[in-house]
């Protein structure tokens, strides 16, 4: 557990015109741990995630990935560094099937050089690798050839998360992954998060649901009005503690 952090963001500040969205916020993500990012609406959670995933450039601060400092210039750059983000709105393509979604824009081609030039898809290979990836993550989908649009919300979310980690990504940022899901489906997604953790992935989970935090998270970082107001081990706190940090009633500094 004392290995080097997968990701360190230190002293991150970001403002939009007059609004200071983030003020000197630091956060560490560790391999094999789930970190909750908590805060009320407008506390700066999404801004922080966007700074880490390359969508925003922070005004100040440093980001270290696996110990090396990087200026993350785009979401593509973040992905190359092993950081994958699953946004609140599902990033799956409904008319494509499960395997096609998993390999979207990273398709395998066949037919050698010419096949690669024209983009001739190697569907069989993609399906096989998709099946083994989903099996590794214990994700069950009735048929890989079904369009994702015909799957349940939980299954779709599982495909989105599966895509995030299918590429050996070591850092996964999840923005309210269970926001629109029912009880049973939510449980499946939480199981999946635990599964990622057990495989050594560093997970950042944004959520409003305290029960989920207590269920799967190891530590929690709480933002209040753009500042970090608390950083705690989840085992040491109660639900009420977390809520009081979020509402700004209390802070650990």
């Amino acid at each position: 557990m004392s290995s080097a952090p997968a990701l360190v963001a230190s002293g991150i500040s970001k403002s939009f015109r007059a609004v200071q969205a983030l003020d000197d916020v630091s956060i560490e993500l560790h391999h094999g741990r789930v970190t909750a990012l908590l805060g009320d609406n407008g506390a700066g959670k999404s801004t922080l995630v966007k700074c880490i995933s390359g969508l925003y450039q922070p005004d100040a601060g440093h980001i270290f990935v696996q110990g090396t400092e990087h200026r993350i210039s785009s979401s593509r750059h973040a992905r190359e560094l092993g950081i994958e983000t699953v946004h609140q709105t599902l990033s799956v393509i409904d008319p494509l099937d499960v395997a096609e979604n998993l390999f979207l824009n990273r398709e395998h081609t066949r037919g050698g050089w010419l096949g690669a030039r024209i983009g001739l898809l190697d569907k069989r290979r993609m399906r096989q690798e998709c099946a083994s990836t989903l099996a590794r993550l214990d994700i069950r989908i009735p048929s890989l050839r079904r369009s994702v649009g015909s799957l349940s919300g939980g299954q779709r979310q599982a495909v989105a998360i599966g895509r995030a980690v299918a590429w050996g990504q070591q850092i996964v940022l999840l923005d309210e992954p269970a926001a629109a899901l029912g009880v049973e489906q939510t449980q499946r997604v939480l199981d999946l998060i635990v599964n990622l953790r057990d495989q050594g992935v560093a997970v950042l989970l944004i959520t409003h649901n305290m029960d989920r935090v207590l269920a799967v998270c190891d530590q929690a970082v709480v933002l209040y009005q753009g500042r970090k107001c608390a950083e705690v081990n989840v085992a040491d706190v109660t639900k009420d503690d977390l809520v009081s940090y979020i509402t700004g009633a209390r802070g650990t500094g």
Binding site: S75, R76, R79, H87, T89, L90, S91, V92, I93, D94, P95, L96, E100, L104, N105, E107, T109, I118, G119, L120, L121, K123, R140, P142, S143, R145, R146, S147, G149, S150, E184, Q187, R188
Partner: protein, 336 residues
């Protein structure tokens, strides 16, 4: 509850190909994804009975329908890609005329191949301009291509002062419309070739998947790193080039280039594509459906004429049938 559903899925194991097909059939829209083929069979059967004595089923009449369908089918395949990418191309009719004129101009001095390539090149150029303006200036393709329709129609009218340009090249005419392989008209062969090419590109090329992704959810496609601007431009280029090829087929069949070829094809083409199961607003496309839709449109045209309907009544009957067919195929889009 959780355990139960998991064990149920797990015990199913690997599905057999038949089970897999049934599963996809059920969950990808069921019977309604085949509406266009049922409509085709229904209309064919109806005309066969009503128009039996008028020779509807004679080989010469069926060939006629195929010939009429060819340019519509080729344009429909191109339009399906534009719609799949979430765009629309209203300039296709004018591109048909432009292409026929360019072909007629070049074929005479430089041969049939140069003529065809020049016509396709000019058409592709129109598509590039359509795409660049749509993507870079961020004007909806609906408006860009509407403007382009006017511009290209004007150019076509000025080209030879509304006069047709003759094409006197047997090879050009033979390959693109008038000739054939034995008893099979080259136009029918072109329908099959273009249909297969389109289907293959949509389902087996990375580009086809990216076109569909871009039309279904541009933000998600962007997030996956797809260059959606380039995808949209390429889809409009394909639609314009297909229209250009339809122009070549018309020029070949009639042995002329003329400013009004393809003029009234636009709505027929869009109807064919949408009846075929392509979503007017992107993200869902069927190439075989579009080709079948084109055959339906040609068959309607032919059958209504054989029935002896006045032009005015033909228009009304065709309009009603199109609305019915589109309504049927749109229901699927809402429910899935």
């Amino acid at each position: 509850m959780i355990r139960k559903s998991i064990s149920k899925q797990a015990s199913a194991g690997l599905p057999s190909p038949v089970e897999a097909w049934i599963d996809r059939y059920r969950h990808n829209g069921g019977l309604r994804q085949y509406v266009v083929y049922l409509a085709f069979a229904l209309i064919l059967a109806t005309f066969s009975i009503i128009l039996h004595d008028d020779g509807f089923l004679s080989s010469s009449n069926l060939l006629n329908i195929g010939r009429q369908a060819a340019p519509i089918a080729v344009m429909a395949v191109g339009m399906a890609f534009a719609l799949a990418a979430g765009e629309i191309d209203l300039s296709v009719g004018s591109v048909v005329a432009l292409s026929s004129l360019v072909a007629a101009e070049i074929v005479g001095n430089h041969g049939f191949l140069a003529g065809a390539l020049a016509a396709l090149g000019a058409s592709a150029l129109v598509g590039i301009v359509n795409g660049l303006i749509t993507v870079k200036v961020r004007i909806p393709s609906f408006l860009v291509t509407l403007g382009m329709l006017g511009i290209i129609s004007g150019i076509a009218r000025n080209w030879n002062d509304l006069q047709s340009l003759p094409i006197r090249n047997d090879r050009f005419s033979g390959i693109f419309g008038a000739g054939g392989l034995g008893p099979v008209s080259s136009l029918l062969i072109w329908i099959v070739v273009v249909g297969i090419l389109g289907h293959f590109a949509l389902h087996h090329l990375r580009w086809g998947r990216h076109v569909l992704s871009t039309g279904a959810d541009r933000d998600a496609a962007n997030a996956a790193g797809i260059n959606t601007a380039r995808v949209k431009i390429s889809a409009l280029v394909v639609s314009a080039t297909a229209a250009g090829f339809a122009g070549i087929l018309l020029a070949g069949r009639l042995s002329i280039g003329r400013h009004d070829l393809g003029e009234d094809y636009l709505l027929t083409v869009i109807a064919a594509v949408v009846i075929g199961g392509t979503n007017l607003f992107g993200g869902r496309a069927s190439i075989l459906g579009a080709v079948t839709g084109a055959l339906i449109m040609a068959m309607l045209n032919n059958g209504l004429i054989l029935m002896g309907l006045e032009v005015a009544d033909q228009l009304i009957a065709r309009g009603v049938i199109i609305i019915l067919a589109v309504a049927l195929s749109m229901r699927e889009a809402k429910e899935t």
